[in-house]
Symmetry: C2
Subunit: 217 residues, 2 copies
DNA sequence: GAAGATACGGAGGCACCCTCCGTTTAACAA
DNA sequence: TTGTTAAACGGAGGGTGCCTCCGTATCTTC
């Protein structure tokens, strides 16, 4: 990176410190107040001037991105670990479940993320991308094993995940999200006789079995 | 104040007119600019003072609710019609598809609705409720016919629907949403025997195993 | 018409956004 | 150390949107 001329001044200590402070404050403020939270409140909590905040993070999205970076990292790492488990579908399901749990502890932040993802900002480039990769590795494994249908991309799955989680109005939202994700994964399975004709589906006459009701866990 | 009677005074003509104007303006403004749109812009477009707007609709949510009421009504009616179709699952699928299409024409409004639903405001009472009912009638029919699993409530399904639709960042979001909903409905089907390892899974076992990795960068 | 009731509009106070710039301070060289 | 200077600091200030309040205008009714 440094090219001609060696001179790279050491970054100023106060700048480094303040940046860190702002990040920490932002994490707390966004977690509590959601994405609409006042940036001035963040600055105040961090004990810096509003100008300082804006210098470090010119836009609201920039701040989001920085804050979420590590959070996303965690989720991403989890996927890495799950890659070693036996059952690919189960691994995927587990990752999704962890994602829900994760989201649960960061109320406001999730909304912020969803919002940022939607607005197609730069945050997309890192976070969304990163998660796509994480989820992709799990998905691919399951698909390669012939357990899941191959026509759903990691991006699709991630979107579905966000969608399911985006709904947290009620106190019970978590179990709802878990249930919905389970259904989704079920739908993702390669089906014996089924689908193939999405729209016109004639409904396989005999589906002998009764309500599955197997999910839970 | 006297009087004979309980006859209520006829509502003032200008009030009625203005209310209508505001609604119309709001519909346009929200559709274009999303839920964050300036209420002052709405008032201006409607040709009334900001005070008038607030008198008619004390809160932003109130305005949303009024605007969406008719939209929701349409979707609700569609469900009514579909109730007569032959295949229950297909009917449900079709309603969901129409929902996506519907959403497509109201960009900003959808975000607004999702937001409102989430905030647990009064809009919930009508819109969400209404749609739940609509979707519920379709869902029940399919469940009664033994085609779909019985442990997913109309509310769940509606949430899933919103979730899938909430993602419209890319121009291709529609097809994505349709695909995801299809998967979801598939997952909703009563499954013969859990995952039943039918031999058919071999199908994509081969699958080029080179799926993603298209990382940007 | 006249009398009230009702609705109207927009000024005003507040909060937040973001920019701009004079002041302060840390890093480095002498 | 001390001096130089680039970098960082903070917060005032101009802009916008939210919502309330209330004097004025308009409509309904008698």
């Amino acid at each position: 990176m440094d090219d001609h001329s060696d001179q790279t001044r050491k970054p100023r200590a106060d700048a480094v410190r303040n940046r860190e402070r702002v990040l920490e404050a932002a994490k707390a403020v966004f977690s509590a107040g959601g994405p609409e939270a006042s940036l001035e409140a963040v600055a105040k909590r961090a004990g810096v001037g509003i100008g300082t905040l804006y210098r470090h993070f010119p836009t609201r999205e920039d701040l989001f991105e920085a804050v979420y970076r590590r959070e996303v990292e965690q989720l991403s790492e989890l996927a890495e670990q799950l890659k070693n488990s036996k059952d690919p579908v189960d691994a995927l399901r587990r990752w999704l479940r962890s994602g829900v749990e994760f989201v649960a502890t960061k109320k406001g932040m999730m909304a912020a993320l969803a919002l940022a993802v939607q607005s197609g900002s730069e945050l997309h480039v890192f976070s969304f991308d990163r998660l796509t990769k994480a989820i992709g590795s799990l998905l691919d494994r399951a698909v390669s094993a012939g357990e899941l249908r191959p026509d759903i991309s990691p991006e699709d799955l991630l979107r579905a995940f966000f969608g399911m989680c985006y709904i947290h109005d009620q106190p019970r939202w978590q179990s709802t999200a878990l249930r919905l994700l389970d259904v989704f994964v079920d739908g993702l399975r390669v089906q014996p006789a089924g689908k193939a004709e999405t729209g016109t589906s004639k409904a396989r006459a005999a589906r002998g079995a009764k309500p599955a009701m197997k999910r839970k866990r």
